[in-house]
Symmetry: C2
Subunit: 712 residues, 2 copies
C-alpha cells in the first residue's frame, strides 16, 4: 500500500520533471509540457531532453541529474530504449515517484517484458515507487495537475477512477460524468489497484470509486481492502477480458493475466464491489450515487404521462428487485379527487388524463407532492416528454417543478425519464442543480436505483457485520499430528494425486465424514473387505490414471453377494485390456452401498487460482454439474453467512429444502462441510485441487463417497 506521502508525490507533486519532452510543439508532437502549462498547475515544472535548449519558454535540462532540486515526480516519456537509464537516474537522485508513459514493455515483445522486469529490479528495495509503464498517468482535477499529453476537456466530479487504460481518464466526462482523481496504472509493474484503495476510501472529496480492471496481482489483498473501503463508499468495477478472446487480448494490452471471470465474479460478490456491465452503466451509476444520498427502501412510485411507459418501468423494476409502491389510502383518495371518474388510482399512475383536465404542470406538481409525502413510497420515478426545445415548451416542461420537489424531499430520490427529440437539452436542465438524474430509459433508471438500494441495504450492512470467527474444528494434538503426517507422507512419496482411503484421514480430521473404504488387491481381500463392511457394497477401480471412475466402467454399485463381488472384481481386471483406456488396475476399493432416495449428491471442491488462491466450488453433483452449470464459487475462507449464500445461490438449493414431498436435508451439516473445507485449503496452501464428488447430503448428516486431492 502506498503511504499518504507517497500518493501525494504522484497526485499532488510540488515539483515535476517531464523527461523526454520533445522540442517540437505542433499538435502531432504530443508535447506533454503544453497541456500541463495550459491547465495552470501551480507547482514547479522541469523539462528534460538530452538535446538541451528551450521549448515553450522552458529550459530543457540535459538530464534529470542536472535539475536544481530533487523533484517529487518524474514523468518519463522517452523512447523505450532510454527508459531504464532514466529510471536508474531517478533512483540515484532518490526521486520518490515515477510515471512511465512509454509503451512497449509487458505490453510489447519479449525484450519489452524483460525491460519491465529489469525496471522492477531497479526500484526494488528503494524508496522510489512507479506507475506504469504504458500509462497516460494521473489526473488530479482538484489541483489542476495531470500528465495527459493531449488536450482534453476537463470536468470535475467527486469520484475517482483507477484504470488500466488511459481512455477512462481522458474520456471521464463521458464514462463517469467527470472525474476528481484519475490514475491509469497501465501495465501496473509496481503500483497496483490495491495500493490506492485505502487512500481513496479515506479521501473525503471522493464519494464514488471506479475501477477498470484487466487483471490484478494479489487477489486477497485487493478483496480485503475493497471490503474495508466499501463500507464507506461504493466501488464500481468494469472488469474486462471476461471472454476467452477478451482475456487473450488483455495479455497483449497490459501484459496482465485476465483471470477466470467466475472467480472475479465471486471475489466482487464477497467484497461488496458492484460490477458494471459497460461504460453506459458506469456513467449512470456514477450519476446516481453522486446525486442521491441513499434510498430508504425498494418501493417506487411511478408518475407517467404514458401508461405504456409505466408498464415498461414495472417490467424493469421486477428485473432489478425493486417494487411498485402500494399507495397509501390517503394518496389514493387525494389523487382520486383530480383523476377522471372512470380512472382507478394505481401505481404506475398515468397522470395524463388528469393533466388534460386540470393542467399538466399543476397535476404533475400536485401528484409529485402527494406521492413524495406517502410513507409507503421510497422514491419516485417520473416520466415526462421533451417534444419541443425546453425554451419553447411552455406546456410540458416541468423541469422546475421536478427540481423543486426533489429539493423539498431530499431523502427520496426523484428519478426522471425524459424522452423525445430534446432529451439532451431537458436532461441538462434537470441535472444542473445536482438533485435529479435524467435517465435514458426506464430500464437504466431501475438498474441504477436497484443498485443504490442494493448497496445501502445489502452490501453495506454485510460489510459492516463483523465476520464470524468460529473456531470450527477443535484441533487437539493428535489431530494436528495426523494432518501433519498426511502431508508429510504424501509429499515424501511424491503423491501428486491422493484418493480414498488415504484422503479420508485428512477429511475426517477436518470434520467431514467419509464413507468407510477398504482397499483390496486381490479377490480374497475384496471378499474379506465386503464381508467386514457388510452387504450390499460398492466396488470402485483403484488406479492412479482414472479421474472419472464411472466414465470408464470402474464403478459397480449395489453388490449384494460374494458372487457378485467376484464377478465385479473379474470384470474390473479386464479394464486393463481396453487399449483405449490405457489404465493399470492396481486393485479395488470396497465401500458400503449407501443408498437413500431422499438424499442428494453434491460436489464440494477447491481449486487454487493464481490471483485469488483457493476458490471454493459447490454445486449439484452427477452429470448435472456439467450440464446445468448450477455451481457457486467463493474465495476461501468463508464465514457461515457466505457459505449459506453460496448454497442458496444455486437452483438446486430447493432440493435441500425438501422438494416435492421429500424431507428436508441436513443443510447445517452441508454448511459445516463447506466451512471446514474452506478452512482446510487455507491452512494447507499446498492443496492445488480438492474434489469431494459426490458428497451425499442426507436428511441427517453428510457423507463423502469419493474424493481426490492434488498437491502442487
Amino acid at each position: 500500500m502506498l503511504s499518504l506521502n507517497e500518493i501525494a508525490f504522484f497526485l499532488n507533486p510540488r515539483s515535476v520533471a517531464l523527461v523526454g519532452v520533445t522540442t517540437r510543439t505542433e499538435p502531432e508532437a504530443y508535447n506533454p509540457l503544453d497541456p500541463l502549462l495550459k491547465t495552470g498547475f501551480s507547482g514547479r515544472i522541469y523539462a528534460v531532453n538530452p538535446k538541451g535548449g528551450e521549448v515553450l519558454g522552458q529550459t530543457l535540462y540535459h538530464s534529470i541529474l542536472e535539475l536544481p532540486e530533487v523533484v517529487d515526480l518524474a514523468v518519463i516519456s522517452t523512447p523505450r530504449e532510454a527508459v531504464l537509464k532514466v529510471v536508474k537516474e531517478c533512483v540515484a537522485k532518490e526521486i520518490k515517484a515515477i510515471i512511465v508513459i512509454t509503451q512497449g514493455f509487458a505490453d510489447g515483445d519479449k525484450e519489452g517484458q524483460m525491460m519491465q522486469a529489469e525496471m522492477n529490479k531497479i526500484i526494488q528495495g528503494t524508496r522510489t515507487r512507479l506507475i506504469g509503464p504504458n500509462t497516460i498517468g494521473v489526473i488530479n482535477a482538484f489541483t489542476d495537475f495531470h500528465t495527459v499529453f493531449v488536450d482534453f476537456h476537463r470536468q470535475i466530479n467527486h469520484n475517482c477512477m483507477i484504470s488500466q487504460s488511459g481512455i477512462f481518464l481522458v474520456g471521464s466526462a463521458d464514462f463517469t460524468a467527470g472525474i476528481g482523481l484519475g490514475i491509469d496504472l497501465g501495465n501496473a509493474a509496481d503500483v497496483e489497484v490495491s495500493d490506492l484503495l485505502e487512500y481513496l476510501g479515506n479521501n473525503a472529496q471522493i464519494k464514488v470509486i471506479n475501477l477498470h480492471i484487466e487483471g490484478i496481482k494479489n487477489g486477497r489483498r485487493f478483496m480485503e481492502l475493497a471490503r474495508k473501503v466499501g463500507r464507506k463508499k461504493p466501488i464500481f468495477c468494469l472488469k474486462t477480458g471476461r471472454s476467452e478472446v477478451g482475456a487473450k487480448a488483455v495479455m497483449s494490452h497490459s501484459g496482465s493475466l485476465a483471470g477466470e471471470d467466475h472467480v472475479f465474479e465471486a471475489a466482487f460478490k464477497q467484497s461488496g464491489i458492484i460490477r458494471v456491465q459497460d461504460v453506459e452503466e458506469m456513467r449512470s451509476f456514477n450519476k446516481t450515487f453522486l446525486t442521491y444520498q441513499s434510498i430508504s427502501g425498494p418501493r417506487i412510485a411511478v408518475l407517467t404521462i404514458s401508461g405504456g411507459a409505466g408498464i415498461a418501468t414495472a417490467d424493469a423494476m421486477s428485473k432489478y428487485n425493486l417494487k411498485l409502491a402500494q399507495f397509501s389510502p390517503s394518496t389514493v383518495s387525494r389523487l382520486k379527487k383530480v383523476f377522471p371518474d372512470w380512472m382507478e388510482v394505481i401505481n404506475p399512475a398515468d397522470i395524463w388524463p388528469a393533466g388534460m383536465m386540470h393542467g399538466y404542470r399543476h397535476i404533475y406538481s400536485l401528484s409529485l407532492e402527494i406521492v413524495l409525502s406517502d410513507h409507503q413510497v421510497d422514491a419516485v420515478f417520473c416520466v415526462t416528454p421533451a417534444y419541443l426545445h425546453p425554451a419553447q415548451d411552455k406546456l410540458l416542461n416541468i423541469s422546475d417543478l421536478l427540481n423543486q420537489a426533489a429539493a423539498k424531499h431530499p431523502e427520496k430520490p426523484v428519478a426522471v425519464w425524459v424522452y423525445g427529440p430534446y432529451r439532451q437539452e431537458f436532461a441538462s436542465i434537470l441535472e444542473k442543480p445536482g438533485r435529479i438524474v435524467a435517465y435514458h430509459s426506464p430500464e437504466r433508471a431501475m438498474a441504477a436505483l436497484g443498485a443504490l438500494y442494493h448497496y445501502h441495504h445489502r452490501i453495506k450492512p454485510a460489510l459492516e457485520t463483523t465476520e464470524e470467527k468460529e473456531p470450527l474444528i477443535a484441533f487437539n494434538d493428535q489431530k494436528i499430528t495426523r494432518v501433519k503426517n498426511f502431508f508429510y507422507t504424501n509429499r515424501k512419496q511424491n503423491n501428486a494425486m491422493i484418493n480414498f482411503p488415504e484422503l479420508g484421514e485428512l477429511l475426517q480430521a477436518y470434520g467431514i465424514p467419509t464413507v468407510s473404504t477398504k482397499e483390496a488387491y486381490n479377490l480374497a481381500e475384496a471378499l474379506a473387505a465386503a464381508e467386514e463392511i457388510g452387504y450390499p457394497v460398492v466396488m470402485k477401480v483403484l488406479s492412479s490414471e482414472v479421474t472419472h471412475k464411472s466414465d470408464v466402467g470402474g464403478v459397480y454399485l449395489n453388490l449384494n453377494s460374494p458372487a457378485l463381488v467376484e464377478k465385479a472384481f473379474k470384470k474390473m481386471k479386464t479394464l486393463e485390456l481396453n487399449q483405449e483406456l490405457k489404465i493399470q488396475v492396481l486393485g479395488v476399493l470396497i465401500q458400503p452401498y449407501v443408498t437413500n432416495t431422499d438424499s442428494i449428491e453434491v460436489i464440494l471442491g477447491s481449486k487454487k487460482d493464481p490471483v485469488f488462491g483457493p476458490v471454493l466450488v459447490y454445486g449439484l453433483g452427477g452429470i448435472y454439474t456439467e450440464l446445468f452449470k448450477d455451481i457457486a464459487f467463493r474465495i476461501a475462507p468463508i464465514n457461515r453467512t457466505q457459505a449459506l449464500a453460496m448454497i442458496q445461490e444455486t437452483r438446486s438449493y430447493q432440493l435441500l429444502l425438501g422438494f416435492r414431498g421429500k424431507p428436508p436435508l441436513d443443510l447445517e451439516a452441508l454448511v459445516n462441510s463447506l466451512l471446514n473445507l474452506g478452512q482446510m485449503v487455507v491452512n494447507h496452501p499446498e492443496i492445488q485441487e480438492l474434489d469431494l464428488n459426490p458428497l451425499l447430503v442426507m436428511p441427517k448428516g453428510v457423507l463423502a463417497l469419493d474424493a481426490r486431492l492434488r498437491l502442487d
Copy 2:
C-alpha cells in the same frame, strides 16, 4: 387485414373531420386543429363542435352530419359520453375510417369497457374501420398528415412504428431516430397490429418495422403475417408487460391481455421477429438497419486508439455471436510496416503507437483501408475519441476519414464508437452522411451488428425456406374412427381429465408409443395383470384427484414378485386414510418396469394459450423440469427444423447426444413424437392441456410412461 384503400383513409386522407375541437386555443386546450394546421397538411380539414362558431379561422360544424362531404377520416376527441353517438353518425354517413382519441374505455372502468364493446357492435358489419380508442392516432411524415394534438418535433425516417402508446410516435426522434409512418393502436378495439403488417411490408418507403406490443388478439394470424413480412424487412418488437406487475398494469392501460412472456418469446422466434430489450436498443437497431445494407459475415476488425477498448469490444463480440476477424497475411505485413517493432499486429489493432510515430489521421486512414480491403473482414469497428469539440480538434478528429472509407466500401459496415465529452457532437457529424452509426459503447455496437448478422444470415434464410409439409401420420379409416371415438366417448362421459390407459389409444394413433398399461380394481386383478405383463412391474395409483402421483406416494417401481405386488396394493389403499391428501383410490395401474440407465426421461406437452392456441413444451423430465426450467416452447404446429431447434435449445440436449460415455439416444424418434404431438393438438382444438411425463428416450425409440390430457 386492412385493404390498401382502407389504410389510405387512415394514413393519407383527402379530407379529415376533427370532431370535438375545442373553441379554446391556448396550449393547455390541446386543440388538435392547431398542430395539424401548422404542419401544412394539404387535404381538407373540417372542425366539429356542437357549439358551432369559428376557431383558428375554421368554421366549427355542429355535427359530422352537417359536413359538406363524406370525409375520409373522422378523428374523435369528444368527451367519453359523446363518442358513441359520433361513431354512430360516422357509420350513418358511411365514413370509412375513424380514430377515437378519447380515453376511458377498456382502459377505464366497467362502463368504459361496456362502451368499447358497444363501439365494436356499432361498426360490426359496416364498412367503417376504427383505430383506438385511447390513442394519439397516426403520423404520416411523408405527407405531413398526423392527428397528434400537441406540438412536437418531426423527424422523418424510412421506418414505421405500430404501438399501443402514443409516446412511441411523438417521441420517435428519440426511440427510432425519427419516423416515417406511425400508428398508435391504443386499445385496439378494431384495427390491430396484424391488420397493418402486410401493408407495411409492401411499402417501399419503409425499410424497418417497429412494434410496441402490450397484447394482441389473434396470435397465429400475427405470426403468419410476420413471417411473410420478415422476409422483406426486419421487424423489431418491444413487448412490454413481460413481468407479473407489468402484465397487471397492461390491463389497466390498454385493456389488453399481456399474455405469458415465454409464449410471446416462442412466437417471436418462430416468426423471425427481433425482440428489442428497451428503447435504447430500439434506436440503436433502427439506426443500424437503416444505415447498413447488410453484413457479409460475423468477422469484425477492430481499430482502436486504446487497447482497453479493444478488449471490451472482444468481450462484447463473444456475447453477440460475432468473431474477431483473423487478419490475412497481407494485412498483417502491411500493418507491420507502420507499427512499432515491439508490437505484434493482432486484432483488435491498437493503432495508437503507430499513430504517435506517423500521425494519427494518416495511420487511421491507412489502417482502415487495409482492413476494409481484407477479404477476411466483414465489418470494421473503429474506436476514436472526442476529447475536444470537433471544430477545435485538429489532431484526433477523423470523422471525414471514416466517412470516406465507409463510402468507398459500402458493402462493409464501418461502425464507430466515439467516446469522450464531445461524443454527441462527433456522432452528429459522423452520422450525417448516412453511412456510419456512432454507438454509445462497444456493447451496443456489437449487439447491433450481431442483430444485423443474425437477421440477414439466420432469420431471413429461415423465413425464406418453404416449410416442410410432411404428411407425418398416415391416417387410415380405422385410425380416424379410433380417434373420433376417443373424443366422442370422453366428451360424452364428461371426462375432463383423461389418463392412461385410455389416453394410450389417442397417442398410439398419433404414432407415439406408450407403455402397456392395465387397470386393476382389486388385488386379484392386480396380480393377474402383473403376471400377464411380466415381472418386474410398476404400480401406480388410479385416482382422478392426483396430478403428481409420486408426490403422494402413489408410485411403486420395480415390483419383482407377486408378494411385492400384494404389499404395494395394500399400501396403495391406505392412501385414502391420509386426511391431508383427500383422495379416493379407484384402483391401480400395472405397467412393465422399463428400466435402462442409458435412457433419459423428458416431458412433452401442450397447453392452449388464449392468444396463440396450443403451445408445445419440451424439457428434461423429473424434478429437473421444475428446478432448472430447462424447457423450450413453440407454437404448434412445428416443422422438423423447428422441432430439432426446440430440443437443441435446452441444455439437456447434450444428454441426447451421449453424455460422458453413454450411448447417443434416439433423437429422431423424439423429434417425430414432438411433430406428431404438434399435429395432434392442432387437429383437436378441444385439447386444453396434454402432458407426456415422462417420455422415455432410449437408445432406440421412445416410450410414454405416463400422460394426462385435459379437455376444455
